[in-house]
Amino acid sequence: MNENTIIDRIKELLGEKVVEITLQRSRRIFLIVSPENLLETIRILKNDLGFYHISTISGVDRTKDFEILYHLANNQTSLTVRVSVSRENPEIQSVCEVIPGAILYERELQDMLGIKVINIPDPRPLVLPDDWQQGNYPLRKDWSYKSPEEKIPGEKQ
């Protein structure tokens, strides 16, 4: 099955759910869907087209909104499903019930960008420390870190 047959099959199976589908270069397909259709899309892609593997989930802060990219793969090609969520209310459905291996990436997404994942099986923070202040999301573009002034014991301040 080459990329064009896969694209045709996706169009056929998903119908109106496809907002846009492009072939960027060989073995790189990008698919845009709306957030409410995400879970159903992933389910169809896994069951009918064999995209069983999720490589990772990337979150991008585009200032006006957040873009979430699900990098799926099967043995022939890599497919990126793209959804965007609003900045005021960043929420996305969990895909763990279809692909259980996505759990760590969803937890990382919650930590680093503050996108709330609904129905996530395990909502604990993954990479940020336990005493991290609420509401600080390091990968947002408006977040920056100022390191505290260094105190050397015994030196005059």
């Binding site: 270069r25 069983y52 490589s55 979150g59 793969a73 291996g101 760590l104 420390p129 390091p138």
Partner: protein, 397 residues
């Protein structure tokens, strides 16, 4: 039987890197496992947004000390796609050469650690001695043993000459003999096989649904290798086989890695004998065109993926890195369940839990209320002695 929770790490004599494992055990059996990460989170993705594309090569190299070439290759081939650069064939072959040498050194290291955890220390010492041969070859090519710094955007930074070629061939001839000996030893020595067979079993379906990668996936009988599925560098021109095993246990993972070393040796021989002539790199622009790219790479530990988004300046808008080990954690948790405590180091390979020196948790059961809570030793001290623990000690002058 009562369940007890044992924390292993983050600071632990057996752990080389900080990670915290929490094992819920019932007698000798592990009933549940949990992993806590973040002790080594350095914020590289945020940092990468403030560095130029060239500076980021060296930042990517420092993600990992063992597969440093994997991250830079994954990153530079993504940037090359964004810049629409055509890398010369000789450059691609040299990239693949360093990549395979790195795979040999990484697998030799792993084999040694696995042998050590299984109590076969002679094999550990032999493999680590032979690993020095590969490290020397890498030093001959790049000048460095760990961070090779051979990649640059548009190709590689150093060429090899005839003398170096001969040295590489000589080195891998020696390794070939040694690895054949280890294959024989690792798969037929009865005590070693008895220790690793049937440990950490994970079915093919589970491995696939938990999205494991690399040798872990291939040891469960899934023939998936990015070098074949999604060829990069020179791999579309190099003949090689995907190594799999269908035992789904630690023995299978040993077999896959040993077979892969033999394949890597064949690939290196092919590269040296068929190295094309010509340039090794092309000049790359400082600013990168606007766009996005998904770059995949088969690191020694499995699939490595970088997502790069550029905005037309000399710095990336977003750089997402997913290293293979993260993808294997959900599968590891599943493997540990219903295994013995004694199998933790084997399954976790490089991790040797010293249970008695790990920080202890105590479960306190209120008999009248029937409730129970899990407390740390330090919490109990605080609660019952009511003494504040002194923190941030002041220098005595």
């Amino acid at each position: 039987m009562r369940r007890i929770k044992i924390p292993i790490g983050p600071q632990h004599p057996a752990l080389k890197e900080p990670i915290s494992l929490r094992m819920t055990i019932e007698g000798e059996l592990i009933k549940d496992a949990d992993i806590k990460l973040g002790y080594n989170h350095r914020g590289i993705e945020k940092l990468a947004e403030s560095k130029t594309f060239i500076q980021n090569i060296y930042l990517m190299e420092r993600i990992c000390g063992i597969c440093s070439h994997s991250h830079t290759t994954c990153y530079v081939q993504g940037v090359e796609t964004l810049c629409e650069l055509e890398v010369p064939r000789r450059g691609l072959y040299l990239r693949a050469l360093v990549c395979e040498l790195e795979r040999i050194h990484s697998h030799c290291l792993w084999l040694g650690v696995a042998a050590h955890e299984a109590g076969f220390d002679s094999l550990f010492m032999y493999t680590w001695r032979d690993r020095e041969v590969v490290m020397d070859l890498l030093e001959t090519i790049s000048g460095n043993r760990v961070h090779y710094a051979i990649n640059t955007i548009g190709g590689v930074r150093r060429d090899i000459n005839i003398a170096q070629k001969e040295r590489i061939l000589e080195g891998i001839q020696f390794l070939k003999k040694r690895i054949e000996y280890y294959t024989n030893l690792g798969t037929t020595e009865p005590t070693f096989v008895a220790r690793i067979a049937g440990v950490g079993v994970l079915s093919k379906e589970k491995t696939m649904s938990l999205c494991a990668v690399g040798p872990t996936l291939r040891a469960s009988g899934v023939a998936s290798d990015i070098r074949k599925d999604d060829p990069y560098a020179a791999y579309s021109e190099i003949p090689f086989e995907i190594c799999t095993a269908d035992t789904c246990d630690v023995l299978g993972r040993v077999v896959v890695r040993v077979k892969e070393v033999i394949e890597s040796i064949k690939i290196i021989e092919y590269i040296i004998r068929n190295l094309p002539d010509g340039e090794i790199k092309v000049k790359a622009p400082r600013k990168v065109k606007e766009g996005e790219v998904v770059s995949r790479y088969e690191a020694p530990r499995g699939e490595n993926i970088h997502y790069i988004k550029s905005n037309g300046t000399d710095k990336p808008e977003r750089l997402k890195v997913r290293a293979p080990t993260l993808a294997n954690y959900p599968a590891t948790i599943e493997m540990l369940k219903n295994c013995f405590i004694a199998d933790i180091p084997l399954i976790f390979a490089a991790i040797d839990p010293c249970i008695c020196c790990a920080e202890r948790f105590v479960e306190i059961i209120d008999k009248r209320k029937g409730s129970s809570e899990i407390l740390r030793m330090s919490d109990i001290k605080k609660r019952y002695t009511n003494k504040e623990i002194k923190r941030d000690a002041v220098w005595p002058f």
